[in-house]
């Protein structure tokens, strides 16, 4: 009567205890190569171009000239800076999807001072004030959802997501308020004449200060997470709130403190975007980087040095793709397509790093 076929799952999946580093990187590199092939297929399918030409052209776009290379570096630093800001929040398993908003609020605060004070203060002082204002704005934007998470356990993913759009509208409001020339609905280049609030050139390079600032920040965050008492608390809270309780860590305080820091660094990124790259403010000052940086931070497992690599990879793709767009008369958006494909592949590859799979030979009826 009751006959049941003995069937174990066809594919057995088990968690790996550990994986040798070269093996893990082998998987990651192969996933990028797979992504490149898929991206090439996409390009060939829609354009019929030789994909090698396309990738060569991408390389030219990103690093072909000194100017191009510096823009690539600048953009990578922006992405990295936001990723650094997100690292402590994610390490704590606090889903801060609100970097976009935190960057914008920081940018608005910085741009406001830049416009209102202008050349009224020495440039160094003005820059310091702008940085402080940007960080404060970002911190406030970060701490609000943390407060509600700590007190009432509100869902932080959805909360921070909504805060982004509030920030975008505040930015639009300020842009309309500060528009120049009147009626353009754009702020235009701020202080073009006196360059007040602009990053100074270092060794003749416009963007060298950005690089120095962000790399310092990367070192700081690496050290903070790894060696500081607060970083230790973040790690424990992220791993297990029970253990945190056992170690007498006040979880709600860690939430708020860490999100203030996370928001502040994102705000600082907004300041750098205004003072060190765009010299203006608009709703696209963050330009989706708040979201892309989430992926950067996640894939790097919160290691700020690995983030440098991933930031460059993504920016290279985006810059390269806009180059193809002009070279081959394609559309700039191709970059987002290729970015998407690469990210999908890297995200998927994590599975093969964390799990072992084994095909089972099907066992026959045990009767």
């Amino acid at each position: 009567m009751h006959k049941h076929t003995m069937r174990e799952p066809f594919l057995r999946i088990s968690k790996r205890g550990s994986i040798a580093l070269p093996h893990a990187w082998g998987i990651r590199v192969s996933s990028v190569i797979l992504a490149m092939i898929l991206g090439a297929l996409f390009v060939v399918a829609v354009t019929g171009l030789n994909p090698l030409d396309v990738y060569a052209s991408m390389y030219r776009g990103a690093f072909g000239t000194e100017r191009n290379a510096w823009v690539t570096i600048r953009e990578a630093m922006m992405l990295l800076c936001i990723g650094i800001g997100l690292a402590p929040a994610f390490k704590m398993k606090f889903w801060n999807i609100g970097a976009e908003g935190q960057v914008l609020v920081g940018a608005v605060c910085a741009a406001g001072l830049m416009i209102k004070i202008g050349a009224g203060l020495p440039n160094g002082l003005l820059l310091l004030l702008m940085a402080a204002a940007g960080m404060l704005g970002g911190a406030i934007w970060g701490i609000i959802p943390a407060l509600f998470k700590a007190k009432w356990n509100s869902n932080e993913t959805l909360f921070t997501l909504m805060m982004n759009y509030v920030a975008i509208q505040i930015t639009s409001y300020c842009v309309a308020l500060w528009e120049n020339p009147r009626g353009s609905n754009k702020v235009g280049v701020i202080n073009q004449m006196n360059k007040a609030g602009w990053f100074p050139k270092l060794f003749g390079q416009d963007y060298l200060l950005n690089v120095i600032l962000v790399l310092l920040l990367a070192v700081f965050m690496f050290v903070y997470l790894k060696y500081s008492k607060q970083g230790f608390e973040i790690a424990v809270v992220g791993e297990s709130t029970n253990t945190a309780r056992y170690a007498s860590i006040r979880i709600s305080r860690v939430y708020m403190r860490t999100m203030a820091l996370s928001g502040a660094i994102c705000g600082l990124a907004g300041f750098i975007a205004v003072a060190g790259a765009d010299y203006t403010i608009s709703t696209s000052t963050a330009d989706g980087r708040g979201f892309t940086a989430i992926i950067v931070a996640w894939l790097a497992k919160f290691n700020t040095f690995v983030m440098i690599l991933i930031s460059f990879l993504i920016v290279f793709l985006q810059r390269g793709a806009s180059e193809i767009a002009s070279d081959f008369n394609l559309n700039e958006e191709a970059s987002n397509v290729i970015t998407g494909i690469i990210l999908f592949c890297i995200i998927g590859s994590e599975f093969f790093i964390n799990y072992k799979t084994r095909l089972n030979r099907r066992k026959e009826d045990a009767k």
Binding site: H2, K229, Q230, E239, Y246
Partner: protein, 509 residues
């Protein structure tokens, strides 16, 4: 006579742990079988193989005489086997009726379902409101829903995993009368329990497991609490554990009327009172889940005791007692009360699995010093000391502790707690899963602490060890102190009976 279910030579191993070894078991139709055994004797694992959660490595299961293979919970349903787990498998926001029909393929509307539920209720004497949401229900109501759910799915063979653990005596009686009605109806019931008086009251036959092995069965009419205890705990094993006489015992902890409510609002600890002395090992015995966890957590400040509870600590260097109730874990551990609590899930609370040994040492000490940065040097030295002193087998002190074997994880945890130089040291299941040699290392460490004048509280599950190691043994039963006995003069049987037979009035010291 055909058996409803028969297991022959069933073996199940998890890694190197043999949970069930070559177990034979049967249940007749219209019979209530008690499955008796200490913690870790493999009762639940065995039943999980009947209900399709685990698949046996070896052996054969027969249902109504037919050999079957039960690969999933659904396959178990189809064979008429239903299991009510200790942790109910119910969806909180759904109603009783919705939970009962979850996953079923029939097309009945809720009216018909309600009707059918009422029929089952009337037949066996349940009370269930089909439209009530689970989150509005008491524990016993949830249990009723679980049982009705199994019957609704046509279960002929019902497995109840410690069903009375969460019930009041009145609710237990109600459950038993329902069980008798089901037996009347020809259903077979396997009940897992530790409580001997319940075993004697409800079952027709008792089967006993010990350390994964099937010991034997006996008709309940021929059994007594005494004979069952002997079957369950086995013959006393002579252990060669040191037990130095306590030297100048001084009162360190005075616990009075300690009551702790669990998340369901039930009393996990009920008016517990006792004293613990420096230079002494106080054993805590009891079936698991009788309040050991809550007791230790309450003392360590991780649980909030109910009003009227008091926990006084007498520091060695002054005679002013301080009340620990309401203090944070940090304040308590600074006062010198160390908790080395190893919960069932070893890495759940005391350790951070993804960190290395150094990081885990820092859990206790990372605040030390004024600097912003953690001092990693002394924890690292401590980690190295523990590795060499306790012979921890690890690829290195920076390897994540979750990669270590259970025994080594235990050593890390106990070693860290002892290093904090505590005045009161609490350990729970300190030797669970450890081999003999390592266990002796731990006993030795505890004895060292005792000689140093530390008040050691040792929660254990192995009676032989408790009897050989502890100066006094406090027996918890259903959250109450069921007796405090002298470790040197008591017997296995006395402790075993105290663990399983709650006295009517608890003799609160």
């Amino acid at each position: 006579m055909q058996y409803a279910v028969q297991l022959r030579g069933v073996t199940k191993t998890f890694g190197s742990v043999v949970a069930n070894n070559n177990v034979d078991l049967y249940i007749k139709e219209g019979e209530i079988l008690s499955l008796l055994g200490e913690n870790g004797s493999g009762k639940t694992t065995l039943m999980n193989m009947l209900s399709g959660i685990y698949f046996p490595d070896k052996g054969q299961i027969f249902v109504h005489g037919e050999p079957v293979s039960i690969a999933s919970p659904k396959a178990a349903f189809d064979l008429g086997i239903g299991m009510v787990h200790q942790h109910f498998k119910l969806v909180d926001v759904l109603t009783a009726a919705e939970n009962i029909v979850l996953g079923l393929k029939d097309k009945d509307g809720y009216k018909a379902i309600g009707q059918k539920i009422r029929e089952i209720c009337d037949k066996y004497g349940f009370v269930v409101n089909p439209d009530q949401k689970i989150y509005n229900m008491s524990v016993s109501q949830k249990q009723t829903v679980e049982i009705v759910k199994q019957l609704y799915r046509g279960a002929e063979i019902l497995i109840l995993d410690e069903p009375t653990a969460v019930l009041t005596p009145q609710e237990t009686q109600k459950l038993f009368s329902v069980m008798r009605n089901m037996r009347q109806d020809g259903k077979s019931i396997i009940i897992i329990t530790h409580k001997l008086h319940e075993v004697l009251e409800i079952s027709d036959r008792v089967a006993v497991l010990r350390k994964g092995e099937y010991i034997g069965d006996v008709p309940t009419s021929e059994a007594t609490a005494q004979s069952l205890t002997e079957m369950m705990v086995g013959r006393a094993v002579k252990l060669n554990i040191d037990r130095p006489e306590p030297v100048n015992p001084q009162k360190r902890l005075e616990v009075r009327n300690l009551t702790v409510l669990n998340s369901d609002g039930l009393r996990a600890l009920d008016e517990v009172s006792f004293d613990a002395y420096g230079g002494e090992i106080l054993g805590i015995a009891g079936i698991s889940g009788c309040g050991q966890k809550e007791l230790l957590e309450a003392i360590a400040g991780l649980q909030t005791p109910a009003m009227g509870s008091s926990i006084s600590y007498y520091p060695p260097d002054s005679d002013k007692a301080s009340n620990l109730v309401g203090k944070s874990p940090l304040e308590i551990s600074r006062a010198g009360v160390a908790l080395s609590f190893v919960p069932e899930d070893r890495l759940g609370m005391g350790l951070v699995g993804s960190m290395g040994m150094t990081g885990n040492m820092m859990l206790k000490s990372y605040r030390s010093g004024k600097a912003v940065f953690t001092d990693r040097k002394s924890p690292k030295e401590l980690a190295q000391r523990i590795v060499s002193q306790l012979e921890v087998v690890t690829p290195g002190i920076s390897a994540p502790v979750k990669q270590l074997s259970g025994g080594n994880v235990q050593k890390v945890l106990v070693g860290r707690e002892i290093a904090a130089d505590p005045k009161v040291l609490m350990t729970a299941y300190a030797v669970r899963g450890l081999d003999i040699n390592t266990s002796y290392t731990i006993y030795h460490l505890l004895n060292e602490q005792k000689k140093n004048g530390v008040a050691v509280i040792y929660v254990g599950e192995d009676l032989d060890v408790l009897l050989a190691l502890c100066d006094r043994i406090l027996v918890l039963c259903a959250g109450r102190v069921n007796g405090i006995v002298d470790g040197r003069s008591t017997t296995r049987e006395e402790v075993g009976l105290l663990m399983t037979n709650l006295k009517e009035v608890s003799p609160n010291a």
